[in-house]
Amino acid sequence: MARLELHGISKRFGDQVAVAGFDLSVEDGELVTFLGPSGCGKTTTLRITAGFETPDTGSVVVDGSEVTGLPPNRRGMGMVFQGYALFPNMTARDNVEFGLAVRRRPPAERRRRVDELLGLFHLEHVAGHYPHQMSGGQQQRVALARAIAVEPSVLLLDEPLSAVDAKVREELRTEIRRMQGQLGITTILVTHDQAEALSISDRVVVMNSGVIEEVGTPARIYAEPRSAFTAGFIGAMNELPVRVASRREGLVERAGRRFAAPGATELPDGAAALLLVRPESLEPIEAAAAASEERPVLRGRVDVQTFLGATMRLFLGGVVWGAAAEGDHEIEQLAVDVPSSAAGRWPVGTELSVAIPVGSSRVIAARTAAEAAAVTRRPGSART
């Protein structure tokens, strides 16, 4: 129920930079996710916000008043920890009531509020249970109820779903989003799971090596990643090496063919670049169909079929540019999503040609060696 601002937050642990120059404003009622691989500084930033770590530089501001110097127990924020951190010697009810007891609310009010929260999270039947008597999902919901009980200005969630089973995780994800929307609590969630970040957030902050790579809505970040790191980290993405042929005309070149690609106008002529295409954007075509400037074509052999449910992902190997055999630039791997119902047409071992439809690709500068090392362990052309 508050606006949160983080200004120029930096923190080192010994020699290691955990966060460097982190700036962010979170609007009232917004749900923002910090997403990144382990060690990217997302948890440190959250802990600085909560007051568990003191930043080397920068300030934390809630509703216009600075709280950087306040201890955690005077910031009025709620936090849910990765391992739940329920008090083992208290029942679910006592856990939820703890924050209210600290605030010396009258017993009747406490009881009412706790009942309401236990109801909201469907926990009535485990109110008298101790943490060790509850399932992971139940403990998780008690931790949420406990954090929300005190009506925090900001709710901080530190990988809240990493300790529960895959199936329960998806359920809780929806539940958290629904609850957060209903109550309108300003929320920050930390996760390393891109699917979780995409599905739950108003905005996603992609972090890498202590700095913000980019900030945006899930849809924007998914559709138009602005850095090679984001492209590699969020969703499955094919990264095809190309060269900028003409900045003015927005053309890139590969294997002697030129074609238009959004983003090429922002890079210098001759620059090494990556053409980014989502597996679901690639269109299977007849092998005979010709490539054009609007619609470049790739061809390869189906190596692996991976069933994803509604869709089947085909991994092509020995991929060459062009519909005919003239292409000699092999691409190690290309992921193509096709509807599961149609996948029977391309069993393992068959050849498949795919087109990159107009507007569905994007060109960015080739990643630096350091960026490459951060996301991939071997130089590959497609990331899955």
Partner: protein, 284 residues
């Protein structure tokens, strides 16, 4: 033997191994069982031997020696003296160590190695040198003259029990992840004192109880320090009278330690019914 489960849980932080205990059937190799039997015999045979010696005249069971031992006014006095030292040392040790261990765990993890080192010192500094040193500094010739004051012996006993007390409490602290529990309490608005008393202490109550029991029983049986400092505690009294009235002494030993064990057992059973003990037993 019923208390053994609880006693075991006290002394050690249960780790993940136990969670799978129920599944780990396998065939117990015969010789490992043999080792166990031998060690139990090894410890209980002496006890049984002492019992036979104390409660029989050749082949007849008798309580005569016990009665004689109990009517000795020195005996009761020495037991009370030992108990007094045991209680005061235990209280001092728990009250000093629990908050210190918590704070080191929480705020000064860098000092842990130092504390670990300090708390094994009593193992590497033998009681005799501890006594000599204490006498040197606090004794007649010493800087602070505390001679005759029981504070000197309580101090020595505190040092002697520090390893178990610290270890038992620290294991309990680490088993519950105090760090995150403290942060959780802080995020709910709780100050440091409330957090320690309302969240941490109840979470480590079995560890604290374990520490207290170990300290108490150790001091009840300690001989070297008391003897060297000239206190007629129970073990010292026993040693002095053993030559002249060995059967009486033996019967007293058995009875007194039976009483100690029974109280240990009772406390252990109480602890077992607390939710924390159950949590330690089942969740870990």
């Amino acid at each position: 033997m019923t208390g053994s489960r609880a006693a075991g849980a006290f002394w050690s932080a249960e780790t993940s191994g136990t969670a799978r205990a129920g599944r780990g059937s396998g065939r117990p190799p015969a010789w490992s069982l043999a080792v166990l039997v031998v060690s139990i015999v090894y410890f209980f045979l002496p006890l049984l031997g002492t019992a036979a010696f104390a409660f029989s005249t050749g082949k007849v069971f008798t309580l005569e020696y016990l009665a004689q031992g109990l009517t000795d006014p020195d005996a009761l006095g020495s037991i009370l003296l030992s108990a007094g030292f045991a209680v005061s040392t235990t209280v001092v040790a728990v009250v000093l160590v629990a908050p210190s261990a918590y704070l080191v765990e929480l705020r000064l993890p860098g000092l842990r190695p130092v504390l670990d080192f300090v708390t094994i010192l009593p193992f590497v500094i033998p009681p005799i040198i501890l006594t000599l040193g204490l006498e040197e500094v606090y004794g007649i010739r010493g800087i602070f003259n505390l001679v005759g004051s029981p504070v000197l012996l309580v101090g020595g006993y505190f040092a002697l029990t520090l390893p178990f007390v610290y270890r038992a409490i620290d294991n309990a602290l680490r088993a519950v992840d105090v760090r995150t529990l403290t942060e959780a309490a802080e995020s709910l608005g709780s100050g440091p004192f409330r957090t320690f008393l309302r969240v941490i202490v109840p979470s480590i109550s079995t560890g604290i109880l374990s520490a207290a029991l170990l300290a108490f029983t150790t001091i009840m049986g300690e001989f070297t320090l008391a003897s060297l400092m000239g206190y007629a505690t129970f073990p010292v009294m026993l040693n002095n009278t053993y030559a002249s009235a060995s059967r009486e002494a033996a019967s007293l030993v058995l009875v007194s330690f039976m009483i100690t064990w029974l109280s240990v057992l009772a406390l252990a059973l109480v602890a077992r019914r607390s939710p924390t003990a159950r949590q330690v037993a089942t969740a870990r």
